[in-house]
Symmetry: C2
Subunit: 98 residues, 2 copies
DNA sequence: CATCTATTTGGCTATTTGGCAAAATAGAAC
DNA sequence: GTTCTATTTTGCCAAATAGCCAAATAGATG
């Protein structure tokens, strides 16, 4: 495997890995509609707010979301709505885990 | 989060998770061209063959690949070529990890 | 300044993952 | 049947992950 190819796949895998969690998919799909503050996402997800915050960090580090402060609230938004299109394709698969 | 929605996201996440590894992305992209036997994939990837076999198991469990025996060789093939389209989208992202 | 509110960070534990090497298996060939 | 070859499975270990709670932080407001 060539080195630059390796790097490119590693970069892609990092983003895909950030998406590879039910809660984070829920968050991404929710943000598709409109930007949302963390506390609202916590209500939607139902986990501890620190857990939600960590999920958002993962998404932010992958470049999938960005935040905007408005008073006390941080509003998160999708940076790349296209990433969700492929979820529909994935939905049709029939695997042992699925 | 409603229960059925939760399940749907868990199912999607399982497939995405299976894709979320550089070696597995390499394998998937290689299989896009044509079906390939394990030993050939081992040469391409460069890891131990048991490692490659495990990656293939992950992909198989997710429903992303399937195998066909021909003599001593097992030929793996993509079951859902569409899953690779979104990698191009992901490639454009600029994150801390990417 | 102190205080309140929204969010992040750190610490902890349990679980999962990726890799190699050795042993086991499945089918082909003798 | 035995043997050979391709592949999978098992065992082990180090590293990464997800979750909660408690503590820390950043702005807003008094």
């Amino acid at each position: 495997m060539k080195q630059d190819l390796k790097k490119r796949y590693a970069a892609q895998a990092a983003v895909i890995k950030a998406m590879a969690h039910p809660t984070r998919l829920l968050i991404l799909n929710s943000l598709k509609k409109r930007e949302t503050c963390v506390c609202e996402l916590r209500d939607l997800v139902g986990d501890d707010i620190s857990t939600v915050s960590k999920h958002l960090l993962v998404l932010k580090n992958a470049g999938l979301v960005a935040a905007r402060r408005e008073g006390n609230w941080l509003h998160y938004r999708l940076t790349c709505p296209c990433v969700l299109e492929f979820a529909a394709c994935v939905g049709g698969l029939k695997g042992k885990n699925v």
